[in-house]
Amino acid sequence: MKKITLSIAALALFSASFAQNLDRSIRPKPGPAPEIKLGDAQSFTLPNGLKVFVVENHKLPTVSYSIQLNIDPLEDPAKSGLGDFIGSLITAGTKTMPKEKFDEATDMIGATLQASSGGIFGNSMTKHQDVLLKLMSDALMNADFQQSELDKLKKQALAGLEQAKNEPDQMLENVTNVLNYGKAHPYGIVTTEKTVGNVTLADCKSYYTTYFRPNVAYMAVVGDITLKEAQTLVTKYFGKWEKATVPSITYPKVAAPTKTTVDFVPRDNAVQSVVGVTYPIDLKPGTPDVIKVRMLNEILGGSGTGRLFLNLREKHGWTYGAYSSFKNDKEVGEFQAYAKARNVVTDSSVNEIMEEMKRIRNEKVDAATLQDMKNYVTGTFAIGLESPQTIAQYAINIERYKMPKDYYKNYLKNVAAVSVDDIQSTAKKYVNPDAAHILVVGDKAEADKLKRFAADGVVHYYDNYGNTVEAPVVKAVAADVTPQSVIAKYIDAIGGKAAMEGLKSLVTEGAAEAQGQQIKIVQKVVSPDKYLMSVVVPGMGEVQKITVSGTSGKMSSMGQSQDVPADMLGSFLEQADLQADLHPEKYGIKMSMKGVEKVEGADCYVVEKVSDKGSKSVSYYDQKTNLLLKEVKTDASGTTQTTLFSDYKAVTGGNGYKAPYGIKIQSAQGTQELKVVKMEANKTVSDSEFK
């Protein structure tokens, strides 16, 4: 008995001391690598040509159906944007079920149902799959395209484009596509307000009836279902889907650059440059190079442990992230090295990206790093298999891209086989620092420093749609042209000094449209120190009003009012002074000549005006007409706003005084257009209006 107690005590003691003596510095070694079992998809084909892949997975009582179209649609470049409307239109009601009923029925079974221009996806619990399939097949065959829905979608698309105009990543993407593929290639088509405007309901219907056909479709059925059940259900719901000849286009050939070019998209008020070093590559899905390129990319810049990230962010702190990618595609793929960097380090960032591209070609990579990357790729491959959708997608890829049948089964074996030498030879084939587009979206002041990277020593300029534009700052200004002389000519152009001096008051009525609402704006000024602005929205009344008189002012909005803060008062008083252009010194403004730049095709003198209060404005005066076309204002807190002026006309009662009737304001919130409806000078305005 005693012995037993003793041994128990000893045991307890042992386990305690075992814990204390654990050497925690020893890192556990991995166990034997698990077998990564890659399930097979079963498949069958309906008489109408629909190819179906079934992956059984009974872990959850749910099932998903997804249809992918294998099409190369003929895209009318003049109607680009059409594809984005198709999906929403397909699920917005059918010939027998209006939108409301359709939504109701989808929600009733707690299902997901979404479509795009390339297919449709539905997911529900297995017990509700009959209803899901009924809705899905109805949408697929009998969608009822309504003009009102398209109108709603187009409006949303236009708002989105407006926001994207000044969005640097969107600008980079547009121009990248144009540079790499050319505007004649479907991958190089750019969507604009105009192309969206051209899309008609008939175009959408035609797309739907042409391309949504079973003989060009792959369907993945995944989840809690057997092959037999899938056969029965798919035949029942999609057997009647009619096949038809689907046209297919042959894509034009794409030319890769032969020398390195520098391509620049100027962006007003940029604080960061977006850099994309890019060119098209020939890398088709399923070819032996794809896996080697994948490993190459992991080392060059695939993630936060890639070289680009470690260099540009960890070592230099120039950016939040820097990455590379090699896109494989059955027509033409693409390489890109990407970073967003502070303005002043734009050229340094380009330099390091180019150096990393050279280094991976010229030096062998470290074997241990390659092994780490292989482990990562292997691990994430296994994690990806947790989703049964992955298996279905693999089966479809094999069929669609005519890949070897055992491509994915051998994937990890092929990853493991990639050698240090493979990485270098692959880099020599696919990494081309000497034949690339160095594309930068950013402040034009940074552009010239990039010349040294260009084989031709020149910076090529583009607008955000990929159209070639002239260099924004090129021409020198003649010695006798000063800010004062430019402004004097401007004053002459809008009616002359006498007319301006004679201005006592100015009453302007303007109209703006925002999301379908007409907004009325009234501005009244009595020089030199009375100002009123009122914004009226129909149905809501006056939503905003500002009045300034002398040294005080009031702002009211939605029934609440307050005094105009002292720091804002100055800017209103400047607007209240109709002769402000005649005496800038009164507002502490110092002017300097910045050069000549183009604004919408017109050469303009650029005059910078800096006030002693910390705000800055840059004005663009047309060399030919002398009129002010553009103004970029930056307030003391750094907020900028760009205003474009057009349509100068004589003002009623102004003795020849002219003012712009077209005004376009661009700010971080988007673009707002304002049309002047009526403008009258020297009309009597009662002082009481400014109280």
């Binding site: 399930g39 997975n57 959850l60 409301e100 939504d103 109701e104 509700h128 691990g379 803060p565």
Partner: protein
């Protein structure tokens, strides 16, 4: 080749066998003598393993003069340990084929890794390193101060409506530490000293305040041995673990707050005090929120967005909070040119309707179907199951809730929805936040 076919058909028969059974999530659980609660869930479908640790500490455990501390601490916990160098934690997981992350809420902090299953021991060792001797030093503190400030800028300050939650919680709670959000204030983190960090670590990052979950392709007997090896020797915490005791008073009468931000469209948020998560009425209220805003045919969506076009977006949901009172929130973002008060009227009309008119059988059936669908999908991945297991134990000491929760929803009747609407969705129990464009600001 033949062997592959054979093993495939074996696999198929194995999965068919599983169909016949109920789709129950099996697990075993036990406590180590030091108080660490361990939950093991075995599933060999994919050769991966999820290792995660939930520490029962969140922003509600913070000193009001040190808000943001728990979340900041989460960042510090990636800086390294005595045996894992600075910056190596992330790299080590990735170089061994895994992915990792962490997050902090009001109530808990959660760390998780998904790895190939042969790396299970490594992940267990790494989480133990974090628990036993994480490296807390001035370099790490300085680095993470910068990173967290950037995170705050990117995710809150620079994002439209980024301060919405902060404003709601600030006004919905006056006494309870739910008053502030986990991101907290950068200024307080700058003020915190080294001693405070160590004290926080020794108080909350102890085995008796943690749940360890190992889920996936594991052999439980082997897993238990490793857990004993790496966690058995970690000392139990000696400090008392403080939990908030503040009792939040009832709202009493409708409270209104205004906030002005760089947004273009006004938003209205209506928030009600409700019972904490896990209570019967909270389940009913969650269904009520789905009735209002889940799917294109939900009442808010159909009426206010599609028909009246007064809002561009609407929503209603319960915020998952462990303590009483919880919070149910509804929001609307006004359409261009629409008075936000007018949009609020439409929201109020729908709320009044659920308070006064019974819910039809058809619509109720829809709700039940949606609830079932959402519940089923919440357990689709190993990582999701692991978190559900950890949460159910940490909050309710009821790990099996992962299997029984659906029954709690199914118990709710249509009449219950009307009852809870009447009981909680009252004007004297609500906060209204007007989140408006800066241009509407009065000073």
């Amino acid at each position: 080749m033949k062997r592959i076919i054979l093993s495939m058909s074996l696999l198929a028969s194995a999965t068919i066998g599983a169909t016949a059974q109920e789709r129950k999530i099996n697990f075993t659980e036990y406590d180590l003598p030091n108080g660490l609660h361990v939950i093991l869930h075995e599933d060999h479908t994919t050769p991966i393993v999820n290792v995660s640790v939930m520490y029962h500490v969140g922003s509600k455990n913070e000193d009001p003069k040190r808000t943001g501390f728990a979340h900041f601490f989460e960042h510090l916990m990636f800086e390294g340990t005595e045996n894992i160098g600075r910056g190596e934690y992330f790299k080590m997981i990735q170089a061994n084929g895994g992915v990792l992350n962490a997050n902090t809420s009001q109530d808990r902090t959660y760390y998780f890794e998904t790895m190939p299953s042969n790396q299970e021991e490594l992940a267990l060792w790494m989480e133990a390193e974090r628990m036993v001797h994480a490296k807390i030093d001035s370099t790490g503190i300085e680095t993470q101060r910068k990173v967290v400030k950037e995170e705050k800028k990117q995710s809150y300050d620079n994002r439209p409506y980024g301060h919405l939650m902060e404003v709601v919680f600030q006004n919905a709670y006056t006494k309870h530490p739910y008053n502030w959000m986990p991101i907290g204030s950068a200024q307080y983190i700058d003020q915190a000293g080294y001693g405070e960090f160590m004290d926080f670590y020794k108080t909350f990052y102890v085995p008796n305040n943690a749940v360890l979950v190992v889920a996936g392709d594991i052999k439980p007997e082997q897993t238990k041995k490793w857990i004993e090896k790496y966690y058995g020797g970690i000392a139990k915490g000696t400090k008392a673990i403080p939990r908030p005791t503040e009792v939040e008073p009832a709202i009493g009468q409708e409270k209104v707050a205004y906030y002005y931000d760089n947004v273009q469209l006004p938003a209205v948020i209506i928030a009600y005090h409700i019972p904490k998560i896990g209570s019967d009425d909270a389940y009913a209220l969650e269904m009520l929120n789905k009735l209002l805003s889940n799917g294109s045919s939900s009442r808010f969506q159909k009426e206010i967005v599609d028909k009246q076009q007064k809002a561009v977006g609407v929503g209603a949901f319960n915020f998952p909070l462990e303590d009483n009172p919880g919070l149910s929130m509804m929001f609307g973002i006004a359409n261009m040119g629409v008075d936000y008060k007018d949009m609020q009227k439409s929201m109020d009309a729908e709320i009044e309707k659920v308070r006064t008119q019974p819910i039809g059988a058809e619509e109720f059936k829809k709700l039940q179907n949606q609830v079932e669908n959402d519940f089923v999908n919440s357990n689709s991945k190993i990582a999701g199951i692991a978190e559900n297991l950890a949460t159910n134990y940490a909050y309710f000491k009821n790990t099996n809730l992962v299997n029984t929760e659906l029954a709690k929803y199914q118990k709710v009747t249509a009449a219950d929805l009307t009852r809870v609407a009447k009981k909680y969705l009252n004007k004297d129990n609500r906060l209204i936040v007007y989140y408006l464009p800066k241009s509407m600001e009065k000073k």
